[in-house]
């Protein structure tokens, strides 16, 4: 009944993959200061695999934990799998989030997509733009 699950608290207290990749192949940033949540994801891609990932987050406990968990879930995975990471998967891996915090997991999903999009853009890889909705879709920002 605590505010957050133990997994959330673990990832909040000991966030995995915090930091910057100076020579990242793709960088995505979503959210904004107005909403109180910004997530920035740095990707290193080797042979179509997420060989390294780092994040920086301005936000609440579940935003930090979601970033941490999301980066863990895609690290070492093929880019195609990383792209399929859903906010539900993040939430599930965190053993749940309070209802009004679900948008944090959405933000994590979107930050990864944004980073992949950036990678595609830099590499000149074609993609379907509607696979990459912009931050406007984050419910957190509607209020």
């Amino acid at each position: 009944m605590a505010l957050y699950s133990e997994t959330v608290m673990d990832h909040f207290r000991n966030p995995r993959n915090v930091g910057v990749i100076e020579d990242a192949d793709g960088v995505g940033e979503v959210g904004n200061a107005l909403c109180g949540d910004i997530m920035k994801i740095y990707l290193k891609i080797e042979d179509g695999i997420v060989s390294d990932v780092k994040f920086e987050t301005f936000g609440c406990g579940s935003a930090i934990a979601s970033s941490s968990m999301a980066t863990e879930l895609i690290k070492g995975k093929p880019l195609s799998e990383a792209l399929q990471l859903t906010n539900q998967a993040v939430t599930k891996a965190l053993d749940g989030l309070p209802a009004h915090k679900l948008h944090c997991s959405v933000l994590a999903e979107e930050a990864i997509r944004a980073a992949v999009k950036d990678y595609y853009d830099r590499q000149g890889i074609a993609y379907d733009p509607k696979d990459f909705p912009d931050c406007g879709s984050c419910e957190g920002c509607h209020g």
Binding site: L3, M9, F12, R13, P15, V18, G19, E29, A33, L34, C35, G36, D37, I38, M39, K40, F55, E56, T57, F58, G59, C60, G61, A63, I64, A99, H100, H103, G140, G143
Partner: protein, 394 residues
């Protein structure tokens, strides 16, 4: 544990707990019953009423017990609005940074055809009697302005506002939930017509409060039913909680000056210490300020993370942001004093009481800067500011 969230609620004092348990064990009759057991409960109730009245300079008949500050606020506003409406007065003056018990009730009144004017509270979070005087109109039914703000601790000039309202013959209500037990209250001298207070903010029990209504200001009941509280508030009286409240209020009032002196020293050390953190700012009036209130914004971080990490170090504090209450909007109070959304998200409220110690202050002054630095170090927003990509606000 270092408890620094006394504005949210307080630990009950032993005197209050004992008054309650004594009542639950021995004076548990229904005060409306005419046999001895009931009449003793009634005596306990009336004794508490008298003692509470004394604490705020009222007469016992002017004291109505409610289930807390929110109910008292709701009833005060509803009563004055109804009274006004009967005389064709539908204009209500308040401030932009009242508690939601006030603001939400006013919103409902707006829907019912009242015109609500929320005075701006300026960067320090206060309003002047002059502002109130300017705003009062022929059809003003009520001025409702809090005694002290629950988030940023500014103390408002209620005596001056009371004088203006009395002169202009407008009903004046003050939400004194954060003031009672901490600041002197004298409803007569201060020309207060209606006043709300809540016991759990001064080491009393939760779920009990007071609505003071000056003789001659009729209350409308919010809860209908039996004739308890002279027909102004139905429901079997919560005798034990009332007894606990009286004990707590007396205790707080008896030690008000010394507590304030002690607590404000701690507060000022905290303010001085936290001001050292770069790109931080004190919220609220630095001078006219609740003795125990400290409220800061720290640029580049979000308040909840800070609170959770403070909790890990055994420090209980709160944030202006209503993060936990299911809302994602930053504090309306911080927005009202002009803090941008971004900064309003990064606030910290520490509210002390006389039980806090110098050691508590030391621990807080060690923890907060470390955690702020840690969080800033993982904040892309902070990095953008440091690198000059975005501007600092504070």
């Amino acid at each position: 544990m270092i408890y620094a969230d006394n504005a949210a609620t307080t630990q009950m004092g032993e005197a209050a707990i004992n008054a309650m348990t004594a009542c639950m064990r021995d004076t548990w009759g229904n005060p409306s019953s005419l046999y001895g057991l009931g009449q003793r409960a009634k005596e306990a109730l009336e004794d508490a009423r008298e003692r509470i009245a004394t604490c705020i300079g009222a007469s016992p008949k002017e004291i109505t017990f409610t289930s807390g500050g929110s109910e008292a606020d709701n009833q005060a506003i509803r009563s004055a609005a109804l009274l006004g409406a009967r005389r064709g007065k539908r204009h209500i003056i308040s401030t932009a940074f009242e508690h939601h018990a006030i603001l939400h009730t006013l919103k409902r009144l707006e829907d019912e055809g009242f015109e609500v004017e929320l005075l701006p509270v300026g960067p320090l979070g206060t309003v002047t009697a002059h502002q109130v005087a300017e705003a009062i109109r022929e059809d003003t039914a009520l001025v409702t302005i809090m005694y002290a703000n629950n988030e940023i601790g500014s103390i408002l000039p209620v005596s001056e506002i009371g004088a203006v309202c009395r002169e202009r013959r407008v009903i004046f209500h003050t939400d004194a939930v954060q003031a009672a037990g901490h600041l002197p209250i004298d409803v007569r001298a201060q020309n207060i017509d209606l006043l709300s207070l809540s016991a759990h903010k001064f080491h009393g029990p939760k779920g009990i409060g007071v609505l003071y209504a000056r003789q001659g200001v009729p209350l409308t009941s919010l809860i209908e039913g039996g004739a308890q509280e002279r027909g102004k508030r139905a429901g079997t009286e919560n005798v034990s909680a009332v007894a606990g409240m009286a004990a707590a209020l007396e205790e707080s009032c008896a030690h008000m000056a010394e507590n304030a002196a002690k607590v404000s020293v701690l507060r000022d050390r905290l303010i001085a210490g936290l001001s050292q953190i770069p790109h931080s700012a004190l919220n609220g009036d630095p001078v006219n300020r609740l003795p125990g209130n400290v409220n800061f914004c720290f640029e580049g971080i979000e308040g909840e993370s800070l609170l959770l990490l403070l909790d890990d170090r055994g420090i209980c504090a709160s944030s202006g942001s209503a993060c936990t209450s299911g809302s994602l909007d930053p504090s309306h109070v911080l927005l009202a004093i002009g803090r941008p959304h971004e900064v309003a998200h990064g606030s910290l409220r520490l509210s002390l009481c006389e039980e806090n110690t110098e050691a508590d202050v030391d621990a807080i002054l060690k923890a907060v800067p470390e955690i702020v630095a840690y969080l800033r170090n993982m904040s892309p927003l902070w990095k953008d500011k440091v690198s000059g990509k975005k501007e600092f606000v504070l």
